[in-house]
C-alpha cells in the first residue's frame, strides 16, 4: 500500500462547558501521514495547539482498538465517520487526501449533554442498564456451566447482540435521538438466552421506561442507527424489543 502525507483543514466544535455556547473553530494541520489513525491526527493538532499556548481539544477515547466504546466523534455528518462498522479510533487517514476539509462535532442528543468540546455525558446509558440490563444472580449461586445447553444459533445471535459497545453512535445518528438500538441489543442479548428468561418481561418494560425518562426520542424506523453502528447491531433487535415489550405489556403475569 502506498503511503502519503497530506495537509488538512479541520472545523472542530469547541465548547468550554455545558453552560456556555459552542462554535466551530478552523484549524490547519500539515504533514499528516496516511498511516495515522484519525485520533492520532487529532493528537497532532492538540500538540500543535499546546505549543501555540492554546487549549487542546477535549475528546473521549481510551482503548483505540474499537472495543471500549469511549470515542465518539461526529465526522462530516456521520457518527464515527465514513467507514462502515468502524469506530472513530479505527478510522485511518488513508480515507482522506491532501487539501480535504473535515468537520468534527460531538454526539448531539438531549440525553447526551456536552461536557466540553467533543466529550459528552453518556451516563444515561448506565442508568438504562441499571433499570434491568442484567441477570439477577449473586456471585456463588451458579450451577455447572454445561448443565445448561444452549442451541448454537441462539447463542450466536445473543453474542451478536451483546457485541454492542455502548458508544451511542445509534443515538447520534438518529434524527430522533432514539436509544432503541442500544436498548434492543441488551434486551435481545438476554432474551435469547435461558438465563435471561425469568426477568424477561420486567426487563423490557423497565429499560424502555428508563429510556423514555432519560429524554431519548422515539423510533420511527429510519434505520440510521444500524447503518452507523460500529458493531453492526441489526435492526432485527429493535423488532425483537418491540415484541418483547408488547408481549410484556399485555402479559397477565408480569
Amino acid at each position: 500500500m502506498e503511503h502519503y502525507t497530506m495537509n488538512l483543514t479541520l472545523k472542530v466544535w469547541r465548547q468550554k462547558n455545558n453552560n456556555e455556547k459552542g462554535s466551530f473553530e478552523t484549524y490547519q494541520v500539515k504533514g499528516i501521514s496516511s498511516e495515522m489513525s484519525f485520533l492520532e491526527m487529532i493528537d497532532v493538532l492538540n500538540e500543535q495547539l499546546i505549543v501555540e499556548g492554546k487549549e487542546p481539544i477535549a475528546f473521549d477515547h481510551d482503548c483505540r482498538e474499537g472495543i471500549c466504546g469511549m470515542c465518539s466523534m461526529h465526522i462530516d455528518g456521520r457518527a464515527h465517520g465514513p467507514w462502515a462498522q468502524t469506530t472513530t479510533c479505527q478510522l485511518h487517514m488513508r480515507q482522506y487526501k491532501d487539501g480535504d476539509t473535515i468537520v468534527i462535532e460531538p454526539w448531539r442528543a438531549a440525553a447526551f449533554p456536552v461536557i466540553k468540546d467533543l466529550a459528552v455525558d453518556r451516563s444515561s446509558f448506565d442508568r438504562i442498564i441499571q433499570a434491568g440490563g442484567y441477570v439477577s444472580i449473586n456471585t456463588g449461586n451458579a450451577q455447572d456451566a454445561n448443565s445448561l445447553p444452549i442451541e448454537k444459533q441462539k447463542a450466536d445471535d445473543s453474542f451478536a447482540a451483546a457485541a454492542c459497545i455502548g458508544c451511542g453512535a445509534c443515538v447520534a445518528a438518529c434524527p430522533n435521538a432514539s436509544a432503541m438500538l442500544f436498548v434492543s441489543a441488551k434486551v435481545s442479548h438476554l432474551a435469547l438466552l435461558p438465563q435471561g428468561a425469568p426477568e424477561r418481561k420486567e426487563r423490557a418494560l423497565n429499560m424502555i421506561a428508563q429510556m423514555d425518562k432519560e429524554g431519548f426520542g422515539s423510533c420511527t424506523n429510519i434505520g440510521a442507527c444500524e447503518a452507523e453502528c460500529p458493531k453492526g447491531i441489526s435492526l432485527d433487535n429493535i423488532a425483537r424489543l418491540n415484541r418483547e415489550y408488547i408481549g410484556a405489556m399485555f402479559a397477565g403475569d408480569k
Binding site: D62, E65, D126, T139, N146, A162
Partner: protein, 659 residues
C-alpha cells in the same frame, strides 16, 4: 517490616478450603456499617464491587472513564482458562496450577496459584449464569481452544471479544448493585492519593475529572484494582488512559511494590508504522492456534510472501520448539521473533516484523474438513480456500477486520505482519495470600498486584485472575480483616490525614500548571517510553540499565522544570490528568530499572543478556534469586529491597523446556 505472606498451613489442596472454613466472618447487620472503596472497574474491580455489594457492604467504586464498562479488560481478546476438563483431554486443577507455575518460570507463589486454578471453574459457571455468551458447539455445550504454554484445550472464549463479554457481565452485576443502592458509582473520577490513619488504609482523595474538584472519601478498606503499568513504555497494547497512579500513590504511602521489572512483551502485535503511533494493537494469541509463524530463510528477502515457496520459509518456532511449536509461551515466542529480526530476517518496511500465516490451516485443516462434511470428493484449491476461509472468519473475523482497518492489508490473502509489544505487567503491588498489601486494609486485585503469574503470564490467565480475585477470593479474605473493624464506626473525612492528603494533591497540581515550560506531556512520555523500551525492554543488561536510571532521573528533572500544561485545575483538563500520570510513570520507570538491575538472572519476561543458555534461552539463578523482589519507597529515587523467599513444595523448579 518483615513480609508475612500468610499462607495457610496444610497440604496445597487443603489450604484454601481450610482458610475459608476458619477465616473470620462479618454478620449481615455489621456489613451494612462497613464501607469499602474499589478503585478501578475492570474485571477485578467490577467483580469485587458487585460481589461485595451483594454481600451487603457499602461500596464506592471509582473509574476514570465515563462508564465502568470502558475499563481496558474489555479489550482482552482470546479467552479465559479454567480447569473444567470438558474436553476430556487430561486437564485438572493440578495441571492448570503446574502450567501456570512453569509458565511463570518458577517465580510465582504456589499457594496463590493453586487457589487460582481451584476457583477457575467457578468463574465459568458464574459468567454463564450471568448470560455471558461464550462460544458453543452444535450440541449446545461450551467450546474450548488452546493457548500458549499448555497441551490441553482449556480456554473458553467469545470469538475475539472474550474480555468484552466478561467485563459486560461484571459491569451488569455492578450496575444491578448500583440500582439496589449497595454500590455508589463514581465515573470520571481518579484516585490521587491514599489516606492512611494510624497505619491503616482509611480512604482516598479522588479528583472529579469533569469539574476538577478534589473529593475526600473514607472507608474501612480500600481495593486497588487499577490494572497494570504497561504504558510506562509509552507504546503498549494498553488503553490510552491506563495508568499506574493509584498503585504508585499506594506505594508511596507505604505499600511495597513486587517484581516491578516483570513485564510481558506479547509476541503477536501489529508492528509500529511510524513516529506518530499512539498505541499498539494486539492480535490475539488464539491466532497461534491456526496461524504459523515464519520468516524467509534468506536475509533481507523482499519478495511478496505469497511468492516465497515452502522451502524458502523458516517456521522458526516449529523448528526450535517441536513439542509446543507455535504455542510456546509468550516470552519465548517474543524473544524468538526478536532474534530472527535482529539477525536480519525480518520482513515489512521496517524489517521488524515476522509473518503470521493462516493459509495452511485455511486449506488443509478447515478447508478439507468442510469439504468432507459437504461431501465434495476432490475439491480444488479455490474451493478448499473458500470453505476454510469461512471457518476462520467465524472464529477470528473481528481480529482480521481490525488488522485490515489498521494496516490496509487483507490478512486472508497476505500473511499478517506481527512483532512483539508490551502487553501486561506481572509485577505490581505486593500482596499476601489474602490479597492485602503491606498497608493493613489496603488490597490489590487483578493486574495491579504481583501475585500469580511469576515472571511470565500464560495466555488467557489474566481474565481468570482478575475474576478469581474479585468474585471468589476477596469476598472471603476481606471479612477476615473487617471483622475487627465492626466497632470502628464511620470515618470522618475532616481528619488531619485527609486534609493533608488533599493539600498534597492540590499543591502538586498547582506546581505542574505553574511550570509553564516548553515541552508537552506527550513528549516526555515518549522519551520515557524510548528509554524503557531500549534499555528495560525485551533484552536488558547491566550497562544499559545503569544508563537508563541516570537518563530517567534527568528526565524527571526536566519534567518538573519544563513541562507545559495548559488550562486550569477546576475544569475538564485532560492534559493535567495526563501530566499527573506521566509524572508517576517516570518514577516507576526508575524503580523498574533498579529491579531489573538487581535481578542478576534471566527468567520469563525478564531477559538479562548476561544470563542465557548456549541456545539463547533464559538462564535462571535459583540459588540466588528464587524470591519476590519487593521494594519499599524511602524517598525520591530511594528504594529498599525486601525479599519474600519462594519455597517450592510441589513443583520443583527446572530449566523450562518447550522443545
Amino acid at each position: 517490616m518483615s513480609l508475612n505472606s500468610k499462607i495457610p498451613a496444610g497440604s496445597i489442596q487443603e489450604k484454601w478450603t481450610t482458610y475459608k472454613s476458619t477465616c473470620k466472618l462479618v454478620n449481615p447487620a455489621n456489613k451494612r456499617k462497613i464501607e469499602i472503596i474499589v478503585v478501578g472497574t475492570g474485571l477485578a474491580g467490577a467483580s469485587a464491587a458487585a460481589s461485595l455489594g451483594e454481600l451487603g457492604y457499602k461500596v464506592k467504586a471509582f473509574c476514570f472513564q465515563d462508564s465502568p464498562r470502558r475499563a481496558h479488560s474489555i479489550a482482552a481478546q482470546g479467552g479465559i482458562n479454567a480447569a473444567k476438563n470438558y474436553q476430556n483431554d487430561g486437564d485438572s486443577v493440578y495441571r492448570l496450577f503446574y502450567d501456570t507455575i512453569k509458565g511463570g518460570d518458577y517465580r510465582a507463589r504456589e499457594a496463590n496459584v493453586y487457589r487460582l486454578a481451584e476457583v477457575s471453574s467457578n468463574i465459568i459457571d458464574q459468567c454463564v449464569a450471568q448470560g455471558v455468551p461464550f462460544a458453543r458447539e452444535y450440541g449446545g455445550l461450551l467450546s474450548n481452544r488452546s493457548f500458549g504454554g499448555t497441551q490441553v484445550q482449556r480456554t473458553f472464549y467469545a470469538a475475539g471479544q472474550t474480555g468484552q463479554q466478561l467485563l459486560i457481565g461484571a459491569y451488569q452485576s455492578l450496575e444491578r448493585q448500583v440500582a439496589l443502592g449497595n454500590v455508589e458509582m463514581y465515573a470520571r473520577h481518579e484516585m490521587q492519593e491514599l489516606v492512611t490513619i494510624d497505619g491503616k488504609a482509611r480512604g482516598i482523595i479522588a479528583k472529579n475529572l469533569v469539574t476538577g474538584a478534589l473529593e475526600r472519601h473514607s472507608a474501612h478498606a480500600v481495593l486497588i484494582c487499577s490494572g497494570g503499568y504497561g504504558n510506562v513504555f509509552y507504546l503498549s497494547t494498553n488503553a490510552m488512559g491506563s495508568n499506574v497512579t493509584a498503585a504508585w500513590k499506594a506505594h508511596k504511602s507505604g505499600a511495597y511494590f513486587g517484581n516491578p521489572c516483570f513485564t510481558q512483551i506479547h509476541p503477536t502485535c501489529i508492528p509500529v508504522s511510524g513516529d506518530h503511533q499512539s498505541k499498539l494493537t494486539l492480535m490475539s494469541e488464539s491466532l497461534r492456534n491456526d496461524g504459523r509463524i515464519w520468516v524467509p530463510k534468506k536475509q533481507g528477502d523482499t519478495r511478496n510472501p505469497n511468492d516465497i515457496p515452502e522451502e524458502g520459509r523458516d517456521y522458526y518456532l516449529e523448528r526450535r520448539y517441536p513439542a509446543f511449536g507455535n504455542l510456546v509461551p509468550r516470552d519465548v515466542a517474543s524473544r524468538a521473533a526478536k532474534e530472527r529480526c535482529d539477525a536480519g530476517y525480518g520482513v515489512g518496511a521496517s524489517k521488524m516484523a515476522v509473518y503470521l500465516d493462516f493459509k495452511y490451516n485455511i486449506m488443509h485443516k478447515y478447508g478439507k474438513a468442510e469439504a468432507t462434511k459437504q461431501g465434495i470428493a476432490h475439491p480444488d484449491n479455490a474451493t478448499l480456500y473458500a470453505l476454510g476461509k469461512e471457518v476462520i472468519k467465524a472464529q477470528y473475523g473481528n481480529l482480521f477486520e481490525m488488522y485490515e482497518k489498521i494496516t490496509g492489508e487483507n490478512p486472508y490473502e497476505v500473511p499478517m505482519r506481527i512483532y512483539p509489544a508490551v502487553h501486561y505487567t506481572m509485577g505490581g503491588l505486593w500482596v499476601d495470600y489474602e490479597l492485602m498489601t503491606t498497608i493493613p486494609g489496603l488490597y490489590a486485585l487483578g493486574e495491579a498486584n504481583f501475585s500469580d503469574h511469576g515472571a511470565n503470564r500464560l495466555g488467557a490467565s489474566a481474565l481468570m485472575q482478575g475474576l478469581a480475585d474479585g468474585y471468589f477470593v476477596i469476598p472471603y479474605t476481606i471479612g477476615n480483616y473487617l471483622a475487627d473493624e465492626i466497632g470502628t464506626g464511620a470515618i470522618a473525612t475532616d481528619h488531619a490525614a485527609f486534609v493533608q492528603a488533599e493539600q498534597n494533591v492540590q499543591s502538586r497540581m498547582e506546581k505542574i500548571l505553574n511550570i509553564k515550560g516548553a515541552e508537552t506531556v506527550e513528549s516526555f512520555h515518549k522519551r520515557l517510553g524510548k528509554i524503557m523500551w531500549d534499555k528495560c525492554g525485551m533484552a536488558r543488561n547491566e550497562k544499559g540499565l545503569k544508563e537508563a536510571i541516570a537518563e530517567i532521573q534527568q528526565l524527571k528533572k526536566e519534567f518538573w522544570s519544563n513541562v507545559r500544561v495548559p488550562g486550569a485545575i477546576n475544569e475538564f483538563n485532560t492534559e493535567l490528568d495526563k501530566a499527573g500520570r506521566v509524572a508517576d510513570f517516570i518514577e516507576l520507570g526508575e524503580l523498574m530499572c533498579v529491579d531489573a538491575l538487581n535481578r542478576n538472572e534471566s527468567c520469563g519476561g525478564h531477559f538479562r543478556e548476561e544470563f542465557q543458555t548456549e541456545e539463547g534461552e533464559a538462564l535462571r539463578q535459583d540459588d540466588q534469586y528464587s524470591y519476590v523482589a519487593t521494594w519499599e519507597y524511602k524517598g525520591d529515587s530511594e528504594f529498599e529491597l525486601h525479599k519474600e523467599d519462594l519455597n517450592y513444595e510441589i513443583v520443583h523448579p527446572s530449566q523450562r523446556s518447550y522443545k
